[in-house]
Amino acid sequence: MYSEKVMDHFMNPRNQGEIPDADGVGEVGNPTCGDIMRIFLTVKDNIITDVKFQTFGCGAAVASSSMATELIKGKTLEEAWEVSNKAVAEALEGLPPIKMHCSVLAEEGIHKAINDYRIKNGLEPWEEKGGHTHSHDDLACEE
């Protein structure tokens, strides 16, 4: 059911681990519904110089975390903010429809980590643009 790319990132996750003194940390999801993802950022001169993740979740969640960290590494915070779950899913050569929300988790995790960095540095947090592509609504755990 998963693409080869998903399986590759699942079997050989990139950037897995923890950054003990991270500049920004974002945690999303909740263990009740089986999704929890933590993103750690190191930021130098507005650029993400290092990123790591920890994930409790399915194959798609692990692969999305891995791919998302790859996509934002070396990017400016503005560029990283624009990486959508769709971009993550596309880079993974697609996800099954019922697994799209796992990639949403990655997008939200990055946003949280970036805003955590901004708040810690006395900056206004950026606003999550509503209505982006995720199908999280009908699969939301909070319901």
Binding site: Y2, M7, F10, M11, P13, Q16, G17, E18, E27, P31, T32, C33, G34, D35, I36, M37, R38, F53, Q54, T55, F56, G57, C58, G59, A61, V62, I98, L139, C141, E143
Partner: protein, 398 residues
């Protein structure tokens, strides 16, 4: 590259059809293909083969031939048993009792019945997954027409006190149905001694073919038809008979109940070895279900801090076929209703692994599986934020 090994430990999902069963089915496809409802020789042969299979099924469960009706599988048997008796007895009452841990073929049928004027009580189970007779007694009303409690659970393997429930229902004059889909070939079944009025079974769970099953209906039980049409199965179940499937079911059930003790002892021993090793070698692991009152091949454990689908993917990569109760693997939002019903927190239910052993498993399989499970759990824990938190907390407390 994925492993060349191939170890099947998901016998509760389905089994490989026994080669002797396939052999027995073969002539009924292209040589003796007659429609049993017809009059000529070819048809009489099909008819005789069906009656022979019916006798085999009856013998295997202590029933009479004329109490066995062939269906397309466990799901149809469950649907028919519940809807057929509910509507037939509607004038007597509209209350049905079942358990919270039934298979969806029962639960979703009950939900359907609730939409059509019936009231359903879902009995809770204890931490091991067993229904309590006191709860059943307390749930009975003067409108209760049917009790349906599964013989043994497909996820955690827990065996219900079927003889007690049967005796209790018979005494009260209430129909008793049991879903025995997981039980044939694993435990002895005797519908007469156990006071069972209706019983569902499905061939592919005991080395028979998929798409064929049976419903036992005790003589005298009032039940509406479910599939309407031609006069097959004594006018009770319409549709051209799946002759090869029926023949296969007959052979499979005959084999399944033969030397039951010997076969299941071997499988139980393998299961116990695997279970003991897992519990000893992998920390933060718990057994789900009952320690002794469980199906011989069933093992269900939860590994804290990890998620089941990921575990299955790693095991698949190692060539091991297994199952989980995690919601992530099912496309639904809720983890297994069975694991929640025995009181597991959702996050622990997510980390569950079901291994169901069968005739083809060996000691070598068990030892390979244990090693691989250990590696996979360690690997997933290493990337789990929950495990990281746990380790931190533990080191702080020291």
């Amino acid at each position: 590259m994925a492993s060349q090994k191939s170890i099947y430990m998901d016998h509760s999902a389905t089994t490989a059809t026994d080669s002797a069963v396939v052999e027995a089915m073969l002539p009924w496809f292209s040589i003796n293909y007659g429609n049993p409802s017809s009059l000529y020789r070819l048809a009489r042969e099909s008819k005789a083969a069906i009656e022979d299979a019916r006798k085999k099924v009856a013998n295997a469960i202590g029933a009479k031939s004329e109490e066995i009706y062939f269906t397309s599988g466990g799901t149809e048997s469950d649907n028919w048993a519940l809807k057929g008796t509910a509507f037939a007895l509607q004038k007597k009452g509209n209350h049905i009792i079942t358990s919270a841990i039934e298979h969806h073929a029962i639960l979703h049928t009950c939900q359907y019945l609730e939409k059509h004027g019936f009231q359903v009580t879902y009995l809770p189970v204890d931490e091991f997954g067993q229904v309590r007779i006191e709860d059943l007694r307390a749930a009975i009303t003067d409108k209760t027409i049917l009790v349906s409690v599964m013989f043994a659970n497909n996820e955690i393997g827990t065996i219900q006190p079927i003889p007690e429930i049967g005796a209790f229902c018979r005494e009260r004059g209430i129909l008793f149905h049991t879903d025995a889909v997981q039980v044939i070939g694993n435990l002895p079944v005797d519908v007469a001694a156990m006071n069972i009025d209706l019983l569902s079974l499905s061939a592919h769970k005991f080395y028979g073919p998929k798409g064929i099953g049976a419903l036992y209906i005790r003589k005298g039980v009032r039940i509406d038809n479910y599939l309407h049409g031609g006069g097959q199965e004594h006018r009770k179940r319409a549709g051209t008979e799946n002759v090869p499937g029926i023949v296969g079911l007959g052979v499979a059930i005959q084999k399944a109940v033969m030397d039951l003790d010997v076969k299941t002892s071997r499988i139980r021993a393998l299961r116990d070895t695997l279970l003991d090793r897992i519990l000893h070698e992998i920390p933060n692991t718990r057994l789900n279900g009952h320690r002794t009152m469980r199906l011989p091949g069933n093992l269900n454990v939860s590994f804290e801090f990890i998620e089941g689908e990921s575990l299955l993917l790693l095991l698949d990569h190692a060539g091991i076929a297994a199952s989980t109760g995690s919601a992530c693997s099912s496309g639904s939002l809720e983890p297994s209703h069975v694991l929640l019903a025995i009181g597991l927190p959702a996050e622990v239910a997510h980390g569950s692994l079901r291994l169901t052993l069968g005739v083809q498993n060996t000691e070598e399989d068990v030892s390979y599986a244990c090693d691989e499970i250990k590696k996979a759990v360690e690997r997933l824990r290493a990337m789990s934020p929950l495990y990281a938190d746990y380790l931190k907390k533990r080191s702080c407390n020291v």
